[in-house]
């Protein structure tokens, strides 16, 4: 696990696949049940006060798949089917989406999550990232919002090349560009921005575009349209690594918004095995905080009560160990939300005037964060 995973070449992945296959055949020909051991990863646990090692990227235990159990046999079956597809993709140097793979054997896979899990298993097994397998994820939709969303969007003081195509955001900083899927093809990043602003959703992104926020503020704005997909997070990570800019994140003041925030900063549990290349520890929480509601004098109508599901969700969020160990200030805000029992959306800031968000809220928030010695929400 000390291998720098991003550097893995296509060929070496194929070699690893061949080695893996050989070991399977060997075990079978010796009359033994093949056993595939898959490391388990997690980026947090739910005991905030334990001496866990969640912040390390080391595997937390492993699981051995053998042919003695039917569920394992199925998982091996799926894993091998996906591996055959991956091997083909890599040999032909094509890319396939998780959805493509699912449709190769829809009746066997039965649902997309089965394929997703197999892809994760293979990544862990081969010690590589998903993009090393030439697997991309597209068609990411989230049912929770009314607006169905696609991949990430970017705008602002940025310019880069992707596979020879020039993304010249700088020349019109209020135009949205879709974030490239093949982040490894992104080169020649140039920027004069002062910070990167992540917004949870497209409607806020559109608001800022409409307000020409980037004309007045030298920044880069990114949205993952809900839960960010891998290219968005990798792209963000790449920007942060290349440009060393501060990153601020603006999400709804609700458990989903908060969870999206943590996805940017700490990565998701499903991709925990790849957290080291996906998380962006530099992310600072800009808002909206539960306390902002009074602070910015929002009308009561914009305040929604937390549903039972919201409360349950918030309570489980609060248990995550990193909230205690790394960002205790976030935890306090989250506790405050639970205590008040209310939530609100960023759009609520548009109530007074449409440009309130871009002209007052965000600038004041950034000023607050940038004050020396006032890094409380980082």
């Amino acid at each position: 696990f000390l291998v720098p995973v991003q550097r893995i070449e296509r060929k070496s992945i194929l070699v690893i696949i061949a080695d893996f296959t050989t070991s399977l055949v060997k075990e079978l020909s010796e009359g033994r049940s093949p056993s595939i051991s898959i490391h388990k990863f997690r980026n947090y646990c739910t005991d905030p006060y334990s001496n866990c090692l969640c912040s390390s990227d080391l595997p937390k235990g492993q699981q051995v798949l053998t042919l003695t159990r039917q569920c394992h046999a199925y998982r091996i079956d799926v894993l091998l089917r996906v591996l055959v597809i991956v091997q083909k993709l890599l040999q032909e140097n094509r890319h396939g989406s998780k959805r493509d793979i699912y449709y190769m054997h829809p009746s066997v896979f039965s649902e997309q999550t089965v394929v997703d899990r197999a892809i994760s298993d293979i990544c862990i097994l081969l010690q590589c990232s998903r993009h090393n397998l030439n697997v991309v994820d597209i068609g990411f939709t989230l049912k929770l919002s009314l607006v169905s969303v696609g991949k990430g969007l970017v705008m602002g003081w940025l310019q880069f090349l992707e596979a020879g195509r020039k993304f010249d955001c700088i020349s019109s900083p209020t135009t949205a560009y879709t974030i490239p899927v093949h982040v490894e093809e992104v080169k020649d990043i140039v920027s004069v921005a002062k910070y990167i602003l992540i917004v949870e959703k497209e409607s806020v992104f559109q608001r800022l575009a409409n307000d020409k926020f980037c004309n007045a503020n030298r920044c880069i704005i990114i949205t993952g349209r809900g839960y960010p997909d891998i290219p968005t997070r990798r792209f963000l990570r790449l920007l942060v690594e290349t440009l060393s800019l501060p990153v601020y994140c603006l999400v709804d003041c609700d458990p989903y918004g908060f969870d999206i925030l943590t996805t940017y900063r700490f990565g998701s549990m499903q991709m925990a095995y790849d957290a080291k290349i996906l998380r962006v520890p530099e992310v600072q929480w800009l808002g909206a905080f539960p306390s902002d509601f009074e602070k910015y004098d929002l009308p009561q109508q914009c305040l929604l009560p937390l549903t039972a599901e919201d409360k349950r969700r918030t309570e489980t969020l609060l248990l995550r160990c990193y909230l205690q160990k790394e960002v205790p200030e976030w935890r306090l805000e989250l506790e405050l939300m639970l205590q008040k029992g209310v939530k609100f959306e960023i759009e609520a800031f548009s109530v007074h005037t449409l440009s309130f968000l871009s002209e007052q809220y965000i600038p004041s928030k950034i000023q607050e964060v940038e004050l020396p010695g006032n890094k409380i929400k980082s």
Binding site: L14, V15, I17, A18, T21, T22, L24, V25, K26, L28, S29, G31, R32, S33, K40, R42, Y44, T46, Q63, L67, T68, R69, Q70, C71, A73, Y74, I76, D77, L80, R81, L83, V84, Q87, K88, Q91, K98, R99, Y102, V108, Q112, T113, D116, D137, G139, F140, T141, L142, K143, S148, Y227, D259, S268, M269, Q270, R313, T316, L317
Partner: protein, 450 residues
């Protein structure tokens, strides 16, 4: 023969054998003992005694005794028949009638031969035809009265093709009896089907015995189970009817009878799943019929249970149920071990169902690779030497190996008695919010026409 009345014949002969036949009709138990004595090398005395219940002396008076040398009647309805060896056939007929008589409502017919061999060993051969659903079991007790401890008890369900020698164990007799029954009966419960099979070659026989342990001194209960799996021609018209049903024959103390209810219940508690069988229903329609959820791999299953006491009088215990389970399981295990590939557990079957897929995937990984070294290594591991091997050969070879690994595990697991794995177990400690709800197909959210 402690349970029988002692033979009252005063003369002590050179070869005094006693044979007892126990038959239980619907009403009560009636044990008939035949004592065979060779009065001279050519004269055999057969004295038959019963337990005194169910028949009366007068019933034997008007027997056609023309060919019988001597008929003696003892107190307590003991019937002695003395005949010479040449006219044994007549004796047979008498016995047949007699037993038929004693059996009352139960119809049975059999041929009966006694031979005195050169070496003075008595062979009793029962040829029986269970024309309908009645079988008979014979307990032969041989005893040289002059030699203490020479008593030897045997029970068998005799059949024609496989005459149980006197030396065969009871369970062997039961086996050959059921074999004969299966061959006779064909695969049809109601009528014989000649097209299905004719030889016993295709029968797979397994047997199991369970005895009460010494702790249960008073009981001496023995349970013998024979299971026969007979392959069926799937073309045969009676295939569907039979392959989903198993008739269970039941003998209590060598007598066919209907299965008592507790025993029936025990049958349903047996872990059939681990033999790849899905028991759907246990029907008691005179005979007990097990109905299977799916055809157990194109075959019919027949089974006989025999429960008897080594010692008389019997002692009522709950033990029988326990022994049935043990004996049936033993018989199934015996069958499974002696005939690999059959009675694979449901669990193993499920895993085996993945074998072709797994094999195809692994073969795919090997064959689609553009790395010849890797391919070569795999072929050699698989014992395939030609490079010109087709995809099917590789796949079949891998599949075979996978299946044998699974079967081995299946057999192993029964010995180690592994806890059945939960299908739903998830080792991944995902926390509650697996929120990455991807791929809700967007299209479903929209309605086309409104």
């Amino acid at each position: 023969m402690g349970c029988c009345k002692p033979c009252l014949t005063g003369t002590i002969l050179k070869h005094p054998w006693t044979a007892s036949v126990t038959i239980e009709d619907e009403l009560q138990l009636c044990r008939i003992s035949a004592v065979l004595k060779s009065l001279s090398p050519s004269i055999l005395q057969i004295s038959i005694s019963d337990t005194g219940i169910g028949s009366c002396l007068e019933e034997f008076q008007d027997l056609n005794c023309s060919s019988i040398i001597a008929v003696e009647f003892w107190v307590g309805l003991n019937l002695g028949i003395v005949t010479d060896c040449t006219s044994l056939r007549v004796v047979v007929l008498y016995l047949q009638n007699l037993i038929f008589f004693v059996c009352k409502g139960i119809y049975c017919s059999f041929n009966y031969e006694l031979k005195l061999s050169a070496s003075n060993i008595l062979f009793l051969k029962f040829l029986y035809y269970s024309v309908e659903q009645v079988n008979i079991a014979i307990e032969l007790v041989t005893e040289r009265e002059d030699i203490p401890g020479s008593r030897c008890e045997n029970v068998f369900l005799a059949n024609r093709s496989n005459p149980g020698p006197l030396s065969t164990s009871n369970v062997e007799c039961l086996k050959s009896g059921l074999e004969d029954y299966v061959l006779k009966h064909g695969n049809s419960l109601t009528q014989k089907c000649n097209t299905c099979f004719a030889t016993s070659e295709r029968l797979k026989v397994g047997s199991g015995i369970a005895c009460s342990t010494e702790n249960h001194k008073s009981s001496g209960l023995v349970l013998e189970v024979v299971v026969i799996i007979s392959e069926l021609e799937s073309k045969c018209p009676c295939y569907r009817e039979c392959s989903f049903k198993t008739e269970v024959l039941y003998f209590k103390d060598f007598t066919p009878c209907s299965i008592p209810h507790p025993t029936l219940n025990v049958l349903s508690t047996i872990d059939w799943q681990s033999y790849g069988l899905t028991l759907e229903n246990v029907v008691d329609q005179g005979v007990c019929v097990l109905e299977w959820g799916d055809s157990p791999s194109h075959s019919q299953i027949d089974m006989v249970l025999h429960c008897y006491h080594k010692q008389y009088p019997m002692h009522k215990t709950q033990l029988e149920q326990h022994l049935i389970k043990k004996a049936v399981t033993a018989a199934l295990n015996n069958l499974k071990e002696t005939h690999p590939g059959i009675l694979r557990s449901a669990h193993a079957l499920k895993i085996c169902s993945h074998a072709p897929d797994l094999a195809r995937s692994i073969a795919g990984l090997i064959l689609s690779s553009n790395d010849p070294d890797f391919q070569g290594e795999c072929f050699s591991l698989l014992g395939l030497h030609s490079r010109e091997i087709g995809a099917n050969v590789v796949e079949d070879c891998i599949q075979e190996k996978i299946v044998s690994v699974i079967e081995m595990n299946d057999r192993k697991s029964r010995q180690r008695n592994v806890v059945a794995p939960s299908l739903f177990e998830d080792d991944c400690d995902q926390d509650s919010n697996y929120q990455d709800k991807e791929y809700e197909e967007g299209e479903d959210e929209f309605s086309y026409l409104d």
